[in-house]
Amino acid sequence: MTTQQIDPGMVAYQILDEEGKLVGKMPDISAERLLTLYRMMHLGRAFSNKIIALQRQGRATTFGSLVGQEAAAVGLAAPLQPQDWLATSYREIASLIVKGVPLSTLIYSFRGFTPAYPPETHCLPIQIVIGTQMLHAVGLGMAAKIAGDPAVAVGVCGDGGTSEGDFNEALNFAGVFQAPVVLVVQNNGWAISVPRRRQSAAPTFAARGPGFGVPSFFVDGNDLLAVYDVMSQTVERARSGQGPALVELLTYRIGAHTTADDPTRYRDAAEVEAWKAKDPIKRMRRFLIERDLLSEESDQQLVAEVEEEINIATSEALSMPAPSPDAFFDYTTGDPSPRQQAQREEVLRFANQQKDGRG
């Protein structure tokens, strides 16, 4: 049984099949870049596994793994230039990594502190309200167009997000204003416990686009090359003034929704196993080895390096000092009111008492 309800006539765009065999036209990408993106997929997976491990030890907060969705998350961000914007949900940590947000900043955020992404990465903080960020992406694109800048915005949500009003309003505004924006749906089959078929009776989410006058693409989200190819084309199309696009990436959430979720309550193990066979990293590895861009040895070395990089970043993040107890007053407004100032002093007073053992 599979919960993905795909019209048999509707085939997701593929360049690599599930065995890692080239079945389409190779996109214009250097071998070096390809290896970098392959490495980013590993970074995304290692990051997920590390935060889950830290959470189990009580050293990290609730976290949503992206295991199984690495090709989608890496591929959707890979074609973006520095001036391009990214507005994502919490499922796209690997996209932020590709865009240049430091690992240690991201790990620090899962210690329970608000991170400051470097402004030059042009990434909005991960969005918690479902679908909401799609409108921000469209607004960013509209602004770039008004300002006459060659910047593109990418908004990403999940299959659940497509049911929200904001998702549909975002498509509509993108179309009406011909905003340089690419709206991406990571269809991973599940919105916590609710299967994809509960979100829409339509055979694909990509089918939503034409109703808004937005060109749409249905893509195998576990195929890095296909994701990269379609994103490169839609992003550059948007940049050249030809308007928005909708891209549905068909993938699967291998892990739980978050560390607070137990998926054995609502889905079959067989379904998960079937999707594990379509693993995006394995698929890419086979292709790279086939092409002599990677060997078993260099792959093992790469995986070891990635683990090391994550470990170093984790040490860094864990050794960063916690912010001052009153830090949450820092960024409420640019000009705190006298009342906020007084409240802030109260926080410090009690925090100091606690520290002195008087609290």
Partner: protein
């Protein structure tokens, strides 16, 4: 020049568009139609469709895309056609616009002005008259401005546009054309967060904003005539953050306080002003603080709204109560 509030706001928007190329106006019917109240009249003609544009009919998207534009570096001024429709975009306002600075650790700001007409007494359909400000006291990150006259409206709007954070700018429908006032044609600013003593007095303080300032002034006049009471009328101008110093200074002088607003009583600005008085100057009070407000019901249908909106008579009755020996 003598101007209505509509003319003052229109001129303020024109000046902002002229002064700052980052300013853009968006909303429903604000283009060729000039807004349902004509606040944006001829602005599209003057400044072009790139900077003054109609959107599809979707309030959440108007605010959501404005957030994106503000983060990008523009200075959007979004019009929500009626205050009651702010409910539709509550998520984008409260969980997004108000919080992007906070959520991004100060990396991004949201210099966005959301204009919306509100207020009773003009026989509008349902959800066109509701006063919404109370809801936003619980959405830290916003400033809330509610002008009471053309001169203030123009100067406060200029400050709202210059503010680095989101500002909710609520315009009372009844004030739009009810009177003219001498208003400079040049650009000027009135600081946010500062109240204005409209009429000095020594016996009782009445705190009001929006159309209720006129109501308070009428009641004050009657109180002077009937009882010889000297009433101080304070226009809060900005209802969030409150000008706590102005509130305390007045109550310390008069020892009696009345807060007047059209919004429901529970958890509103009146409750906050009362709490400020408790915290700052309880022992100056000679009588308990009175609240003359809308009631804790939805805003009623036009045929009954005159019973809901605070009238000069209700404010006068409160003044009589606080002046009892």
């Amino acid at each position: 020049m003598q101007m209505t509030m509509i003319e003052a706001l229109n001129q303020a928007l024109a000046l902002e568009l002229e002064r700052d190329p980052r300013v853009v106006l968006l909303g429903e019917d604000i283009g060729p139609n000039g807004g349902v109240f004509r606040v944006t009249e001829r602005l599209q003609e003057k400044f072009g469709e790139r900077r003054v544009f109609d959107t599809p009919l979707a309030e959440s998207a108007i605010i959501g895309t404005s957030i994106g534009m503000a983060v990008y570096g523009l200075r959007p001024i979004a019009e929500i056609q009626f205050g009651g429709f702010l409910f539709v975009c509550m998520n984008q306002l409260a969980s997004q616009a108000a919080r992007i600075r906070f959520r991004s650790a100060g990396v991004y700001t949201c210099p966005l002005v959301v204009r919306a007409p509100y207020g009773g007494g003009v026989r509008t359909p349902e959800l066109h008259s509701d006063s919404m400000e109370g809801l936003f006291l619980q959405a830290p990150g916003f400033k809330i401005v509610m002008p009471s006259n053309p001169y203030d409206a123009k100067g406060l709007l200029a400050s709202a546009v210059a503010d680095p954070d989101p500002v909710l700018f609520l315009e009372h429908i009844k004030l739009y054309r009810s009177f003219r006032q001498e208003t400079p044609e040049d650009h000027y600013m009135i600081p946010l967060g500062k109240a204005n003593v409209v009429q000095e007095g020594s016996d009782a303080s009445v705190f009001a904003y929006g159309a209720m300032v006129q109501t308070a002034l009428e009641a004050a006049k009657s109180a002077q005539k009937e009882m010889g009471t000297s009433v101080e009328v304070i226009d809060l101008r900005t209802v969030w953050p409150l000008d706590e110093d102005a509130i305390a200074a007045s109550v310390e002088k008069t020892g009696r306080a009345i807060v007047v607003h059209e919004a429901p009583r529970a958890g509103g600005v009146g409750a906050e002003v009362t709490a400020v008085i408790n915290e700052r100057c309880l022992y100056s009070l000679l009588k308990p603080v009175e609240r003359v407000t809308g009631y804790d019901t939805p805003y009623p249908a036009p045929g009954q709204e005159d019973y809901y909106v605070p009238s000069p008579a209700r404010v006068l009755a409160a003044l009589k109560r606080v002046m009892e020996p």
